[in-house]
């Protein structure tokens, strides 16, 4: 199918670019590690597990922001986005391809972040891993669309956090809930709901974000 061929091509392009330039991913890895260390110094001695988990999610959120800010920079600077939009592919394929790239970056960052968290703070349960995986989808779906919006504005990097943070508050609730509560299933289901609603909405409306 042409559509998925386009998506694969776009995703592969982003990953190859990153492989060659190696600027975004190392920054994300270093950022999440530094943040975790800062949190150690910021927290008092007898901090509860809930608070530490909460801070892990905050770290993940801001690492995602870091990656997303860069998501459309290359496109914008070399007017690639105009070219992509003119290409005879469904514009939502751009969103999907870019989104898959973002998920890949997030997963790679978490492969480092979660063991680091287990080392510095406390054990990482399976619920946390599943929650992180589900959250990645939601964050990437919403973040890719908002990054495209911010790229079209004058404020760019300043605007993305403002747009992103209110929209992903439910993800934080779902993620922290799944990690610490006695009934993780409810929170994981909620994350799934968030992913479904916002992925569909983003997929359907991306076309309007990149065209006039």
């Amino acid at each position: 199918m042409r559509y998925f061929g386009d998506v694969a091509a776009l995703a592969r392009k982003d990953l190859l670019l990153e492989l060659r330039s190696r600027d975004t991913l190392p920054a994300m890895l270093l950022f999440v590690l530094s943040t975790l260390v800062v949190f150690h110094f910021a927290l008092p001695a007898e901090t509860s597990e809930t608070a530490e988990t909460g801070l892990l999610w905050v770290a993940l959120l801001f690492t995602a922001l870091l990656g997303l800010v860069r998501a459309f920079v290359a496109e914008r600077e070399q007017r690639v986005l105009d070219g992509l939009v003119l290409a005879p592919c469904d514009r939502s394929a751009i969103w999907l391809g870019k989104g898959i790239g973002v998920v890949a970056f997030l997963v790679l960052a978490e492969v480092v972040a979660l063991p680091a968290y287990a080392l510095f703070f406390g054990p990482v349960g399976w619920e946390l891993v599943v929650a992180v995986a589900l959250a990645d989808i939601g964050l990437a779906a919403v973040g890719t669309l908002l990054a495209a919006m911010a790229a079209a504005s004058r404020a760019r990097e300043l605007l993305l956090p403002l747009l992103f943070l209110p929209l992903v508050i439910p993800v934080v609730v779902g993620g922290v809930g799944a990690s610490v509560s006695a009934h993780p299933g409810r929170y994981l289901a909620f994350l799934g709901l968030y992913d479904a609603v916002f992925a569909i909405l983003s997929w359907a409306s991306f076309e309007y974000v990149v065209t006039e």
Partner: protein
Amino acid sequence: MSTSLRNNQAVLLAGSAAILLLAGTALAFYWVPNAPLEGFRQRIFYYHVPIALTSYACFGWAAWKALRLLWTREQRYDLESYTAVHMGVIFGILTLVTGSIWARTSWGHWWVWGSRQLVLFLVLFLFYAAYFMLRYSVDPGPRRANLSAVYALFGVALIPVSFLAIRLAADLVHPVVFSHDVGNKLTASQFTTFLVCLAGMLTLAGTLYRNELTGKRVDARLRELREALE
């Protein structure tokens, strides 16, 4: 729609708003009896909840206009959607303020994270405040209209999702949920007063929306005139 017909509608709307709101306020202060448990302070309910519902209605209206814009590409819907969001934010701020006063008099604090409605409106306020930041940082035109419309649509999707999230969050972060003991058993007089105030707030929002929209339209036409004459 001809201008004169539109003007008559606007006057009718404003008049209805004035009558309904005055009647509702009078009912809330003079007619309705004190609530058995909460006492006099419960009367804040007759303004606070209608204002909250009106805010939701404004955001819903904005999303409808946004959908129309994306569907038909007619630029006038952009102005209408933007104005509706503006009204929604004004009523949202009023919800937060009246809710805060009610929290202060009921539980002693100006802010309680345990109040689901307050927290929901805080999240929505942040979201729609970012809407204005988005508009200010994009040059006027069809692109800005599209971005605003998509964002407005995300907003209405966020309302139920956030509500659910805050409900779930209550279990972990705040086991004590603060909620006012209304809504379940409203007496006939309470319900009537509530309805009148609700109708009043909705028509007030409609009136302000109409006025604001007319002002913006006149602004745009004056700009066109200026360009034609210079």
